[in-house]
Homo-oligomer: 501 residues x 3
């Protein structure tokens, strides 16, 4: 087949359209067709994946068809940009958008292509979602970890390579390759263009950017266009399946480990049970999403993100991509559970002691940086409106009374563990210059990061398993009693562990 | 729409029926229709859920249709009570049943409604299942825990809030909100009416009962009508899907934690493997349930509860809701595995030492309270008849020989761990007045509650994973050797941990 | 129904065939029909399972139909053996194959039947797969464990029954029943005929072999015909579903425990996420298997075993049942990750120190027994060709750079842990005559068998969870620091734990 230069093909496509094109002709932009012509054989899997997607089937104008009810719209612009309106959303529509802003842009064939599609690119059609997502702590997950010296010391303590030097245990810092596949795997990497490299390809020698930090789909990825976040964390390329984004397994990638086992907790709740078994009968792709008709048990998205309507099309709760919009408290203790931070940039927080923590070590909230009672009440009300679509007021109130009780009691456990740890530091049995590097400090971390968090998530989702035996109260009280025993034993023996760096 | 008073609507409904009603008219009782008229907008999710259920589609009389073969029946009454025969099973049929017995009954509109539907209510149509379930230890799971001082001290030790008072670690008892979401989440809460409260609703001010312990669906829930148990533990409201009840994910809610990981063990067995992958092709809703046709690998229900038939309609094993009917031994060690208790009320058990345990601390069974050899053989035979529907006698015999061997060897491990613990108590290094509150005691508990139990479940379900590395023999022998090291270290140092309360 | 003797029935079947049989008649061999006639009522489940299988629907000749494209073939013979060509693959075709070689053969009715179907039996139609599988370390999993004194001491240390004798902790060796359901559950048992036993059956008294080690489907099972391996480990009897073999849940049976959590790691990767949610839309039974069309995310089989083609029928990677054919390194550390062994029999390996380990205790590879750089490169290239069917070269190269970096850093962690352990042994604080039996030795084992392995699998599959908090770097560095603390504490106190045997 003779390949025409792109300009000629574009003219041809236009001619076909103006002259009365056959069904489907001209719906794929010639730029995208250029991509497909090669990539169908170079990377056949993703081309086939995209071909089955909604992006490949509907032009932007069709997605905005006035005959479509507002509740059924899946994009948040009100008018289609002229240059893409009549095309489906293909390779070029995303990978050449905002080319000038992208440091990873390179000339590929005759197009200026970038590798990493960012929230700023998706905002072409999904601006409301992008804006909401930017108000989300998750969108800053990289910088909030990188720029908070306390949190960052946890990263370096975990990722380092311990070696013995002259008989002494020393931790060598982990390198970038390690960090990008561990903490920054979820928090998001910082993607930087290190240069360009020529490669032999089936189309001859071509030049490609060398990207540090890529691949990565962490939620707070720092992108080559300067934006923060990654839509593909949940909306995996290149099918962009809504069912995928709404399914709890997607959240599980970053919310399953013992520090944040939300997915595993959900699986042991009655809601998770019903989804596991009967989820196959749910319509996970419907917009709007009708409770009782499309689904009979909530997924993560139902409670935290999705718009929900009743059979009579009443909106029970609005869609939000600011994931904390329905979250009065941050159950994830640092080390204490606390009202949600006001600003997505949490690296600005300082408690009275000057630490970059949302509470004092005593548990008192650093209120200046956290939402107030009024906002707490508003967010709680939004979450309750999800519950109330199936449950009675009395049930829902008791549920939240239990959760608030559990926040208090687990914070009290954390206070006790922290007091014991302060005694250990005070007695010189451990060194508080780094809070996370010694074995006994890790046991303290267990008590709040693993156990108190699990108990609170268990309470929030009604999982008795995580309330007791799976990293629950049984383990939390054990950890505290071990800290106490360790302190007494070491006070008696006078043994003093060597400092780890 | 004009709302007629209930009495008028009832007359209208009767008129419609006698005068030749359109298809379906009159199948919903007017009392239920009253509920739906409001709740369709108040709690749309559950109304829609119920509308898709079998309860909403079939009248009681139709469920008893003589044309239906006995094996196909899903209810265990032989004649339909006149007052409900011609109605589908709707809101009112359950939530107004036995109203006088229910302390949670309240006047709601013009009906006497109760919140908590109980086994006694379900017995209207499912009396055989209710009676069998009552013979089940699970039906007493709340009182067996509450009334057994030894088991209850485990609950209080786990759920307490540890605080430092005058430098001493003290455990403050957990409150009712905590207990209801932890241990009693599975064991069942005690639901009590604390009073009534007025609420503003879309229909004006209404009064509702305030229920302590609600929501809860634990298997041994103590109900406001005095009954024990909760059918919704497995048959989740309001769809009451048989597929759900038969799916292992349902059992997983209370049988996944490390003390009782039956579900997780199942998932790693070949049976679980086949169900995971091919279960979607199974007919999980069929009655009768035909091996090889409706399913090709067992779920929890297949082995423990369900009636199974062959393609030629031969009953291979009878249905039972007495879940221990096919269980010769209780693999769940307390601390030793033992023959099943005779009576569902296990709080009456006393071993020779006067402890409320089914065995001595030496492992010897408290035989007077346990089933005898004959009953053991009968239950084993029933379970084997499930296995034999697919497997040869030789295979099944070796399987049970392995399991009985594993009961012996794991009980021997528990004996050793207990002897070491007795030495620790004897040397004054721990205080046996509460067996579960000190860190070293919890390591002893690990050895039997977590590890020996996991090994036995691994053996029962042919999971090598739980036989060795996942809380299996590798961990069991490690725990014992740690107990031994701890004893020696502390005998040498003379260190004596402070008493926890 | 009157049962004719087998000989008459055979003649009848032949007559039907030669005289122009009705559709389907004569497709089941008379020998197999004999089996079915009884087993339909004796073990109805497996007969029904088989009836729904491909084996029951296609004769061997039809499976070789020249009209079928080579890529569509599911068997690897080129011509059908005359004696089975026109029959479907039924009971007798497998359970009477190679009868003379099978020590478990017995006269059953009028047929010489064996219980255990082996790779040698399957090779009748699947010789290429059998041969490839034999080059696989997995095919020697029993003997490699049994004949390696070091690895075998891990088995005995874990499976033993610890008892107190004269106040001293002693480990009694586990018995065969224990070993067969623990380590050999995955590694494969050795099946031996212990004798024959008469049983009463529905057809009168019959004699059956008594098989030691049966049931078992471990990958390196030593069979009664002398062969090694078990096809049913993945291709579960009697449906032999290709979907099952290709689904990750099948691999999970032996690759889920903390020492080898490949399946659990996969579940937390984006690939696993997509499969979990959208796998139901995949065609898991297609041959050939087309990327992007039949599946849009890989399962274990995709990367390690399956042939993959593009929509244009280009073979992207060849099928292999030598599972390490695409594996340059063995990530499973013993105790260090290393290039793959050359020979499936790893019991022949000796490091310079004379230990049966693929590396020195310093980490240096025992290169003589391991694949060389050229073979490493070839295998890496094959694996990369899987990745490249969806991903760009740059992405794939960084992925492998991360993995190779992680092999280096985790091996460095293992080196440090081992140096600490050597100090502990050197100081007489533990006894190195058995490396796996003391509590502190198990903590050392954690650092490499559980944590370094998990980190490497996390890297290989892009799971940040296993990179950090789930048995990842957080735990690996903790274990090392605990070993260091333990050494210092015990050097100070002079405490010396008693030797465990």
């Amino acid at each position: 087949m003779v390949r025409l230069p792109r300009s000629s093909r574009l003219l041809l496509a236009l001619a076909l359209v103006s002259g009365g094109s056959p069904a489907g002709a001209g719906r794929i932009s010639s730029a995208t067709q250029d991509c497909i012509d090669c990539h169908r054989s170079v990377t056949p899997g993703i081309v086939a994946d995209w071909e089955a997607s909604r992006h490949a089937k509907l032009t932007v104008a069709e997605a905005l068809d006035p005959a479509r009810k507002p509740l059924e719209r899946r994009i948040s612009i009100t008018a289609a940009p002229a240059e893409i309106a009549r095309y489906v959303v293909g390779c070029a529509e995303c990978h050449t958008a905002n080319a000038a802003k992208h440091k990873d842009t390179f000339l590929h064939g005759d197009q200026h292509v970038h590798v990493v599609v960012t929230p700023q690119d998706c905002a072409t059609c999904h601006p409301v979602e992008t804006e909401q997502y930017g108000k989300n702590i998750m969108s800053r997950a990289h910088t909030n970890l990188k720029n908070n010296p306390l949190f960052h010391s946890m990263l370096t303590s975990a990722n380092g390579t311990d070696v013995l030097e002259a008989g002494k245990l020393v931790s060598k810092p982990g390198n970038a390759l390690t960090e990008d596949e561990s903490c920054y795997g979820c928090h998001g990497s910082k993607i930087e263009v290190e240069g360009f490299r020529d490669r032999e390809t089936s189309s001859g020698k071509m030049s490609f950017p060398v990207l540090k930090g890529w691949p990565n789909q962490g939620v707070g990825r720092v992108n080559p266009d300067g934006s923060e976040g990654s839509c593909t964390a949940c909306h995996a390329r290149h099918a962009f399946s809504l069912e995928l984004a709404r399914s709890p397994e997607t959240c599980s990638q970053c919310h399953s480990a013992p520090d944040a086992p939300a997915y595993r907790v959900y699986r042991t709740s009655k809601h998770g049970n019903i989804f596991d078994v009967l989820g196959k009968t749910f319509n996970m792709d419907a917009v709007p999403w009708t409770v009782g008709k499309d689904f009979t048990a909530p997924t993560c998205a139902t409670c935290h993100i999705s718009q929900i309507v009743s059979k009579s099309s009443k909106v029970l709760v609005e869609r939000t991509h600011q994931m904390n919009d329905r979250l009065p408290w941050r159950l994830f203790g640092l080390p204490y559970a606390h009202p949600h931070p006001l600003d997505p940039d949490t690296s600005i927080i300082r408690n009275k002691a000057g630490l970059t923590l949302p509470t004092e070590l005593s548990g008192e909230p650093a209120s200046k940086y956290l939402i107030d009672e009024k906002e707490i009440a508003a967010r709680k009300q939004r979450m309750m409106s999800v519950c109330l679509s199936c449950h009675s007021s009395g049930l829902v109130e008791t549920h939240f009374a239990r959760l608030e009780n559990t926040i208090r009691t687990t914070n009290a456990l954390t206070r006790t563990a922290t007091q014991l740890m302060e005694k250990i530091w005070g007695a010189g049995l451990a060194d508080r210059s780094n809070l996370f590097d010694e074995a006994i400090e890790r046991r303290w971390v267990d008590s709040w990061l693993m156990y108190a968090n699990s108990i609170r998530l268990g309470s929030a989702m009604m999982s008795a398993e995580y309330g007791v035996f799976t990293n629950g109260r049984w383990e939390a009280t054990r950890a505290i009693r071990e800290l106490s025993d360790w302190l007494e034993d070491h006070l008696k023996s006078g043994a003093k562990p060597a400092k780890k760096n």
